[in-house]
């Protein structure tokens, strides 16, 4: 089935770009809804996305009601999609996404232009590399992201170093430690810029259990070494510096949506999330395009992304049936205070029962106080919260939205006086 010439044959109803949990869930849902030709385009030689190279167990409760390793989970998702009748095209790279659902793709056969009635972006996230973090110093080999580390170790059996420093304390940072342990690599330290570990308990206990010293409030101010990393210099909040000998650096987390196609294409991109601007149906600024999964915002679990994929699959099926409400009016949502981003960024009116049920928010820092939603002149919703950065906050859309209350929705936060 994968050898099908894409552009030939029947009209493509939906092309899904990216075959990770969100993309596969959307495609599978579309087939279950009876959509005729659904293709998933994945640039990797195998579909499945990031879980393919997470060799440890942590996946599948939501989708398969059991705990699986990443690769097994990815296989199950691919299998489910194929069984539903999804065409999966691997080693297929989308180079340009244009108006009217036209995609320029390249495969070993050369370039090809295809046309689909709807397109779903599900291109996921990647970690911020060294350059974008502006980490100074020399540029030896051995400075990599968790993604590269995991594909090296789990997919290719390579070992890039023996004694790395792990930078970051997000969930993925602990996944990096587990990956290291799998290859008998012994991290020598874990660093966190803020004064507390980002990931929640019990992951946060893991390094101590493994005997890895954790430095909080420490940032990397230089990497040393000519061919291979020799040391990192770290600085604490009071400006004191120390050198840690190591032979590698794993830069974990600080995820950013892989939105290159949207950024260099014609869709409106939200600088706050780094992903395309969507309404509550996952619809982009060009209504032929939808977006789902971690591309919408950094970063959620595979299970969460899968759920979002299913939802957008449903929305696109509705749309093809002519049952998705066209947007008569749009309410943009603005943020003030220590709020990093909100998804969706706009609400299409009139409201219908379908679509995302919640706004997803993130805070830029730890904060305690009251979260408000203001629509026009009125405060329509508020709640006391205690927030941590990189933790999901949800606001139920229907709880605050009034059809005729005003055209401006603002989410704001007032800290509790200390």
């Amino acid at each position: 089935m994968d050898d099908l010439i894409l552009g030939g044959g029947k009209q493509i109803d939906v092309a899904v770009i990216g075959g990770g949990p969100a993309g596969l869930a959307a495609a599978t849902k579309l087939k279950h809804r009876g959509v005729s030709r659904v293709v998933v385009l994945d640039r990797e030689p195998e579909a499945g996305g990031i879980p393919r190279h997470c060799g440890h167990i942590a996946f599948g409760m939501r989708e398969f009601k059991r705990i699986l390793t990443g690769p097994k989970y990815a296989k199950n998702l691919v299998l489910a999609a194929r069984n539903a009748g999804v065409e999966i095209h691997t080693s297929t790279t989308v180079v340009e996404a244009r108006p009217n659902g036209v995609l320029l793709i390249t495969t070993d056969r050369g370039v090809e232009e295809i046309n689909a009635r709807r397109i779903i972006y599900a291109t996921g996230v990647r970690e911020t590399p060294r350059s974008a973090r502006l980490i100074p110093g020399s540029r030896p080999d051995g400075v990599i992201n968790t993604g590269a580390l995991q594909s090296m170790i789990y997919l290719k059996g390579q070992k890039p170093f023996e004694r790395p420093v792990i930078v970051g304390t997000e969930l993925v940072s602990f996944s990096a430690i587990m990956t290291c342990r799998h290859a008998k690599i012994r991290p020598v330290a874990m660093l966190e810029e803020s004064c507390q570990v980002t990931a929640r308990w019990p992951s946060s206990l893991y390094p101590r259990l493994m005997g890895i010293p954790t430095h909080l409030g420490a940032r990397v101010v230089a990497i040393e070494g000519t061919n291979q990393v020799r040391a990192v210099v770290i600085e604490n909040a009071s400006g004191n510096r120390r050198t840690i000998d190591c032979d590698g650096v794993v830069l974990t987390g600080r995820f950013i949506p892989e939105a290159s196609l949207a950024i260099c294409g014609h869709l409106t991109v939200d600088p706050a999330t780094g992903g395309p601007v969507v309404d509550q149906y996952g619809r982009c600024s060009d209504p032929v395009y939808f977006a789902t999964g971690n591309l919408l915002r950094p970063v959620e679990t595979a299970g969460w992304s899968w759920q979002e994929g299913k939802l957008v699959g449903d929305m696109v099926a509705d749309d093809l049936d002519g049952r998705l409400p066209t947007s008569e009016k749009e309410l943009p949502v603005s943020l003030t205070g220590p709020l990093k981003f909100v998804v969706p960024q706009r609400i299409s009116l009139p409201l219908s029962p379908s679509g995302m049920q919640n706004f997803q928010l993130r805070f830029t820092r730890r904060a305690k106080g009251t979260l408000f939603v203001r629509q026009g002149p009125d405060i329509t919703w508020s709640k006391q919260i205690s927030a941590l950065p990189e933790r999901r906050i949800l606001i139920p859309i229907k709880a605050f939205l009034r059809e005729n209350a005003g055209d401006l929705v603002e989410i704001t936060f007032r800290p509790t006086a200390e």
Binding site: R43, P45, S91, T93, V95, T106, D108, R109, G110, V111, R126, E127, P129, R130, S131, A132, L134, P136, G137, S138, R139, D141, G142, I144, N145, G147, A148, S151, M152, L155, K156, Q158, K159, P160, F161, E162, V221, A222, T226, N227, Q228, D247, I256, E258, S260, I263, C264, P271
Partner: protein, 477 residues
């Protein structure tokens, strides 16, 4: 080392064959590559020795990738005439070699009255330098050409000839042409000493002895040291000048049309903002004198200053993701002009102090050096129909391999590098033998994700090709 590949012959073997080359070029930077090409085309037998595993590993590995016209070069300098000749020759050969040339033009922008007052003299100088199309333009015209430029611009001149090129494919093509027409390259081969017996040099290298009638010192950052080591004296001293650069995401390229030059100071041309042929936006370089000839580390303050400088000029660069940061070293000396000198009695030509315009002037320098050489007497007959190499197309607007059939797979997704391109870059006498060499030849891992997606596949594809794979260093270290 796991390498099972055929490495280029070591000089020891050549010495056993007893070949006496007309010329040994020491150093395979952009200047060495261009010089080797010129001498081969003129009919000389040429060997190039390079101490690194890959060519372009010193000053030539990092620059602003601009082909300069010479409009602002010091009047009546050797640098000026080499830039003019180099510019001319590049525009003549780039089509048949498949080298990119994007004629963006440059605007030298004054940001205050003091700078604006200097522009008239710069235009006059440009005309005296032979670049006659340089002219003052109204700021209205500037904003028409550069709609996203900060409205703080006070005055500008337009330099139509300034262009952007690929800083690596050009020197690779020069050297490839030399090799296709009889030249030889010895990599990982450092010159350690040597003697001149009145007619022949016996150069001691880390790979064995090489014999030649003439030596051309193109050792860049080590040019003075090579002179001292082999001649006992040097007429200039290299003081490396570090230049740090910031590369913005490809999305930024929609903001910038031309090369935006500052009004120069006596010391440096200043920080440039321009597109690259690969589709990014570059901001740099800084100019920092330092002792070390190898330290290309970056520092936080300089990088932040470059970002601010870019944002000041193009406010929409604010918040734009950074794709890469790097630093290069220019082989500056205590003299303003190039230090190119022949020592006829010693069969030696020094090509030193090529401070920041080497990419533009290399082909011109090569012609100048060949003239100096023939003044010493030797005669060769030029190759009648030299073979012409075809450069690998890496420029974004070019006919990249991913557009063609049977490319294998896309390995580096951000820069759309195919497995066929990787395999090609690993073979032949200039086959990549380090990751940085491979990057310069293919652009793999040089995009947004900096290897997040492709590092593992790339390590697999390059297995056994690199001189010191990181994993080997670890297990032996």
């Amino acid at each position: 080392m796991k390498s099972s590949r055929q490495l280029p012959p070591s000089p020891t073997q050549t010495a056993i064959n007893d070949q006496v080359f007309d010329i040994v070029v020491v150093g395979a930077g952009v200047v060495g590559c261009a010089v080797a090409r010129r001498f081969v085309l003129e009919g000389a037998t040429v060997a190039v020795v390079e101490k690194a595993t890959d060519i372009l590993d010193g000053a030539s590995k990092a620059n602003s990738a601009i082909l300069h016209t010479g409009f602002d070069a010091p009047p009546e300098s050797l640098e000026l005439s080499c830039i003019r000749d180099g510019y001319r020759e590049y525009t003549e050969i780039h089509t048949e070699m498949g080298l990119p040339l994007e004629n963006t033009g440059a605007h030298m922008v004054a940001w205050n009255d003091e700078e604006a007052a200097k522009l008239e003299a710069i235009v006059k100088q440009a005309h005296a330098n032979g670049v006659e199309d340089v002219k003052r333009i109204e700021v209205k015209g500037l904003f028409r050409r550069e709609p996203r430029l900060s409205k703080n611009a006070a005055a500008a001149i337009f330099v139509p000839g300034e262009s952007i090129i690929d800083p690596w494919s050009a020197p690779y093509a020069y050297l490839r042409q030399a090799l296709m027409n009889g030249g030889q390259i010895f990599l990982s081969c450092e010159v350690t000493g040597g003697d001149f017996d009145g007619s022949e040099w016996h150069l001691e290298t880390s790979g064995g002895t090489l014999k030649s009638r003439h030596v051309i010192n193109c050792a860049g950052l080590y040019g003075d040291r090579l002179d001292t080591a082999l001649l006992g004296t040097t007429e200039f001293n290299i003081t490396p000048r570090k230049g740090q650069f910031i590369i913005f995401d490809k999305a930024a390229s929609a903001l910038v049309n031309s090369i935006i030059l500052p009004v120069p100071t006596s010391r440096t041309k200043g920080v440039v903002v321009c597109r690259t042929v690969f589709g990014n936006v570059l901001v740099g370089p800084t100019a920092e004198d330092q002792e070390s000839r190898s330290d290309t580390s970056t520092d936080e303050a300089a990088l932040n200053a470059l970002i601010s400088s870019g944002v000041e000029k193009f406010p929409d660069l604010e918040g734009m993701p950074i794709t890469a940061v790097y630093a290069g070293l220019r082989p500056a000396s205590e003299y303003k002009d190039y230090q190119i000198e022949a020592k006829p009695d010693l069969g030696w030509i020094t090509v030193g102090g090529i401070r920041s315009t080497g990419l533009s002037s290399a082909l011109g320098i090569a012609r100048h050096v060949y003239e100096l050489y023939t003044e010493q007497g030797p005669k060769h007959s030029a190759i009648a129909k030299p073979s012409v190499p075809q450069a690998v197309v890496l420029a974004q607007k070019g006919d990249r391999d991913w557009r063609c059939k049977d490319h294998g797979e896309i390995v580096c997704h951000c820069e759309l590098v195919t497995s066929r391109e990787i395999n090609q870059a690993l073979t032949g006498p200039l086959g990549a033998r380090s990751l940085s060499g491979l990057k310069r030849q293919t652009r793999a891992t040089m995009g947004r994700c900096q290897g997040f997606y492709c590092s593992a596949r790339l390590t697999e594809l390059t297995e056994g090709h690199f001189k010191t794979p990181p994993s080997d260093e670890i297990s032996h270290g």
